[in-house]
């Protein structure tokens, strides 16, 4: 796990640095995960403020702050909260998506490791706003250490009266359950997550009904990402104007950028939305050993690749989209010139083949096929025609799948071929002219 590279947690803004340590500002404090440290550093002060407000005022506050979901899609959080019914005829649920499965993404786990109480405080405020008395935190099962820490924090919070019945004498009750997933990427998709939480096979549900109408146990539910919810106490304390003071008009606020790969100092860098890779690279000490940048993902492997041409793309929801990719989870996987694009693309495709849930035809069969073609190419047994086949199969998967996993699966392939076609061609050089489709389509042996 990467430790925070943010400067010591006290200064709100280090002069001259583009860093804006908000979510990360306590990470380097001693025993930052403990309730004591948290309380010393403004912990649970936002909760007191929040509980004195009307729930709907909190939703309005989050709307005004312009907070957008940090789980990948960037949906405005206040709007999402507003979808929850106001009546309490059925139980309401708040579900925290801490599955963090997107390749390259490593912000939620460090946040929960270093500052679990900020998530819990956010949970109480959000649950209060949405009139939910139950909150589930669905954590990726492999993150065992993190789960223990969360359990510990939950216990501390119960003992201190921040959770449980009649929280801080407000009359508001909240129970938090930490649930360990079993390690399936698809269980990060919010409806698959809900099925998994219900003890069922984790596969995405048909929408509508949307979770706000019929989510967990067919009751009104909101699913939010860890980072989204951990931002909430800061908004309550700082106000929407303060929050909007960072980032850009449509994508306000600070964001944890996870830099990994060929950089000198990989890690979490919290900076305003709209920061560029060039700026982030500077913070991270530049490319490792000075070997030039070749390609990178702006937000995990499901977001189309960028190249060195995109160093100045503002990394916010609009900026990334305008440049042909997506902000995703701001997981910047950075590769230098020593890395073969087809090889990296093959690795990612193998991931999607492994993680496709199997529900729908395009993703299930498409990933299976794409992975085989790429494996064959990387072994030097591809043909130029395979490149066309790859692109056409991608076209038949993108936007045809049941959920966004299928869309994400083809991103590396289409963008990889778009920017680095010659690398794919070079791999096929030895097979030029060979028309592989003349081979019989009969099955061989099982793979």
């Amino acid at each position: 796990m990467t430790e925070a590279n943010a400067p010591d947690g006290t200064a709100r803004e280090a002069a001259g640095s583009p860093l804006t340590p908000v979510l990360t500002r306590r990470w380097l404090s001693p025993e930052s995960w403990s309730l004591r440290t948290y309380e010393q550093l403004e912990g649970y002060t936002a909760l007191r403020t929040a509980l004195s407000l009307h729930p709907d005022q909190l939703t309005e506050l989050v709307k005004a702050a312009g907070l957008r979901g940090r789980g990948g899609a960037g949906f405005p959080s206040g709007v999402k909260w507003g979808f929850m019914p106001k009546d309490r005829s059925r139980p309401h649920y708040l579900v925290i998506n801490a599955d963090e499965g997107e390749p390259g993404t490593c912000k939620d786990v460090p946040l929960m490791m270093a500052d679990p109480h900020s998530l819990l405080e956010g949970c109480v405020i959000a649950a209060y706003a949405m009139r939910a008395n139950n909150c589930m935190i669905y954590v990726r099962g492999e993150a065992l250490h993190c789960i223990r820490r969360l359990h510990h924090a939950v216990r501390e919070a119960y003992e201190a009266g921040y959770l449980g019945e009649n929280i801080l004498d407000s009359g508001f009750d909240l129970d938090v359950v930490v649930h360990a997933g079993a390690g399936a990427y698809i269980c990060g998709e919010e409806t698959a997550l809900l099925d998994s939480l219900e003890g069922k096979r984790g596969q995405p549900r048909l929408k509508p009904p949307f979770p706000a109408q019929a989510g967990l146990y067919s009751s009104p539910t909101t699913v939010n990402n860890v980072e989204t919810i951990a931002s909430v106490p800061h908004i309550v304390n700082g106000g929407s104007d303060w929050f909007r003071g960072m980032g850009r008009e449509k994508s306000p606020g600070p964001k944890i950028f996870s830099l990994s790969g060929h950089v000198e100092r990989p890690g979490q860098y919290e900076a305003p939305l709209g920061t560029t890779l060039r700026e982030l690279l500077e913070l991270a000490g530049g490319m490792k050993d000075g070997i030039p940048l070749k390609f990178w993902t702006p937000g995990g492997s499901s977001t189309p690749l960028f190249t060195a041409d995109h160093l100045d793309v503002p990394l916010d929801f609009e900026g990334a989209a305008e440049a042909g990719s997506m902000l995703g989870t701001t997981a910047l996987m950075i590769f230098n010139e020593t890395v073969s694009v087809p090889w990296a693309v093959m690795k990612w495709t193998q991931f999607y083949e492994h993680e496709s849930c199997g529900k729908c035809t395009p993703c299930r069969e498409g990933c299976f096929w794409l992975a085989q073609v790429l494996e064959r190419m990387v072994q030097g047994r591809g043909t130029e025609q395979d490149i066309d086949t790859l692109l056409d199969v991608c076209d038949n998967v993108l936007g045809r799948s049941f959920c966004a996993l299928g869309d994400g699966a083809v991103s590396p392939i289409t963008s990889g071929i778009k920017y680095f076609r010659e690398e794919f061609l070079a791999l096929c050089e030895s097979n030029r002219g060979q028309d592989t489709t003349e081979e019989p389509a009969l099955a061989g042996v099982a793979r």
Binding site: G358, K359, C360, R364, V373, V397, G399, L442
Partner: protein, 877 residues
Amino acid sequence: MTVAPASGNDTAQSRPVPEGHVRLTIDGIEVDAPQGELVIRTAERLGIVIPRFCDHPLLDPAGACRQCLVEVEVNGKPMPKPAASCTTAVADGMVVRTQQTSQVADKAQQGVMELLLINHPLDCPICDKGGECPLQNQALKHGRGDSRFVDTKRTFPKPVSISSQILLDRERCVLCQRCTRFSKQIAGDPFIELLERGATQQIGTGEQQPFQSYFSGNTIQICPVGALTSAAYRFRSRPFDLVSTPGVCEHCSSGCSQRTDWRRGKVMRRLAGEDPEVNEEWNCDKGRFAFRYATASDRITRPMVRDADSGELRETSWTEALRKAADGLLNARDSRGVGVLPGGRLTREDAYAYGKFARVALGTNDIDHRARPHSNEELDFLGSSVVGTGPEDGVSYASLEAAPAVLCVAFEPEEESPIVFLRLRKAARDSGTRVFHLGQWDSPGVEKTTHIADSGSPIHSGGLLRCLPGGEAAALYELPSEVEQALGEPGSVLLLGERCSQVSGVYTAAMRLAERTGARIAWIPRRAGERGAVEAGTLPTLLPNGRPVSDSVVRSGIERAWGMSTGSLPSVPGRDIDGILAAAESGELSGLLVGGLDPADLPDPEQARRALRAAGFLVSLELRPTGVTEHADVVLPIAPTVEKSGTFLNWEGRPREFEITIEGTGAVPDCRVLDTLAVEMDVDLFTQTPQAVAAEIRRLGPNPGARPKPPDIPAEPVTEPSGDRALLASWRHLLDNGSMQHDEPNLAGTARPPVARVSHGTARRLGLEPHQPIRVSTERGTIALESEVVEIPDGVVWLPGNSGPAEVNEVLGVGHGAVVGIAAGTAPAPGTTPGQREPGGEELPAVAGNGHTSNGHGPPAHGSNGNGQAGIDGGGA
């Protein structure tokens, strides 16, 4: 397909959109569709067929296969990606472009088709589905001619058995989830599930947990590929070699429409037919798989007479057999008379012929088709409240679906009328119907109609009202107020099962309850022929169409219609089945004419056999040898259902007509045999063909007179016996030792294992270890069966009626509600079958029980404390 321009398109603008509808355009055609309709259905109504695999109109949408993608515009804005037409509901102003007008949709569909095929085996030539395979058809219609896939296909060992009947070929599976959704949503038997993920996702069952469902065959039928096949039909034929004939199932009173596929005079398979008002698109495995009894090697094809010298039956000509039969019956008639036992499996037309034969040729009302436990109270109930009703004015499947509450009284829907069971589930799942059961234990059928597991949270509704066997009548007077209230909501229904005839006072109690609450009553017999026979008049008190025997005006009308002289119809009600048998045994009757029944069906098979043995002259009309055959003087072969035409009335009273499926076998229906036999006796029945009979029934019309009076029998109190005695509760499994399931080993493998059920308390009392056999005895015999502890009242033991060694009538000579002896049995040696039947003569405590109330004697009234209170289990709104 060419798209016709919308007719009257210009005027359409001015046409108002009907209430609850929206107006949209599909491939340029403007159409109004009910709100919430799925685009794929609206398109279908326009004749635009969008290819699909996972979509099924009776299952919740899944959107899994993605074959049905179309382009959609809402509010003038194109949706960013193609939408699955099977999950997209219509909306006002929506513009839909299918593969016919959109390149994007066409390419998307081609792409999905190609993806479905990359891992599909080239099995068509050896695949059962070949020739009727949606994948094959759609691939040929919309797919590519060649394959771009040159890599390694996914393979699985094939096939795997998921039950003794169903085989699964995972390579052919397109993972549409129709089978799993059917099993979960419709049947409530989620024993098949998706396993693994991604490209290795597959259908499978739990370890050591086969696909246990009475409805499993439906998954074969709705599987859009050849992934699910049946052991019975696998590799037997190709669809294009088969002739398909619509028919009606002869197994139970649900009345399923079915399709029989046959070739060269032989039935190869049966499928569920489509009838939205009755079986929708489903049937049960008995209806689907049990048909080889009709071609069993021991089928009787030639008439037989008993040789005077050898005493053995010998085959002979129809002429001789009919002559002998006519002579014998005439003699017997003129001596002390003949009783007629037609059995409950006949068509209405055949039953009518028996009824007319009895009255006209034999001059008697001694006729009763109820070859099962029965009572006089039941007789009165049938005459006063059942006969003459139909789906229009009585309870129907549709009324079950619409009912706020349904109470099943001594009725086990899953075992006795599987389509009623499916409809109750549908009602509970979709319309919030609360289903209550008055019974003894939380059987699978009770569980599945009261706890509906589904996507989302399970629905809990209704519940079991536990009472002692025989205590059903008393319980109906003391229902929990919640149930009584629910039944008071308009449209609620009481369903009375066959077992009611073994509980004294229950019909009366149900009618009182109906009066109190306004609920309507339906009678659901088990056998397919029972309802029609009531109508046809094969009861000692009823002439055709509900005319009471005792009404002189009605009688003279029938006399005129039948061309009889005035006053020639017997005017006193006849004997019921027990009475007829007793009279035959004592010599008060000189002869018997017996249709398709087996002594073992009767409440007291031993008495039945004595009567058959003693009968002066016995004529048997049969398909295969039974316990009747060995005593018969003349045996006349008759046609099985597939070789004749006729009408079954299902429990609703709905006529289910069918034509001959297999022609030219020379087999003739009962009505024709009886007609010819009557001619030999110088009587004209005019029942030569079922069509002629049907016409006569129509001409007769409904009963012009008053209905007979309803029964008025008080409820008998029942008390819990102690010590080594228990009350017997018993009903039959759908799949059991029944003779019409003969020669179907794969089907038999899916039957529920026969076990005896007792409470914790009873088990403790007997010192039973888990699974230790329990011995259930009367003075006649003992049934030893593996025990299972369930929540059932103490002092009650439940046995399946006719499964494995548990042949309750035969071995014990008593039925539901009787007092029996119970004792712990010896644990079976490993490897032996769990239960065994033992010969009679067992020593047991003095037990006088005969649970049948067939003679109107009422159940054994041991003790005097009323036991009517029934609490609701697992209920709640």
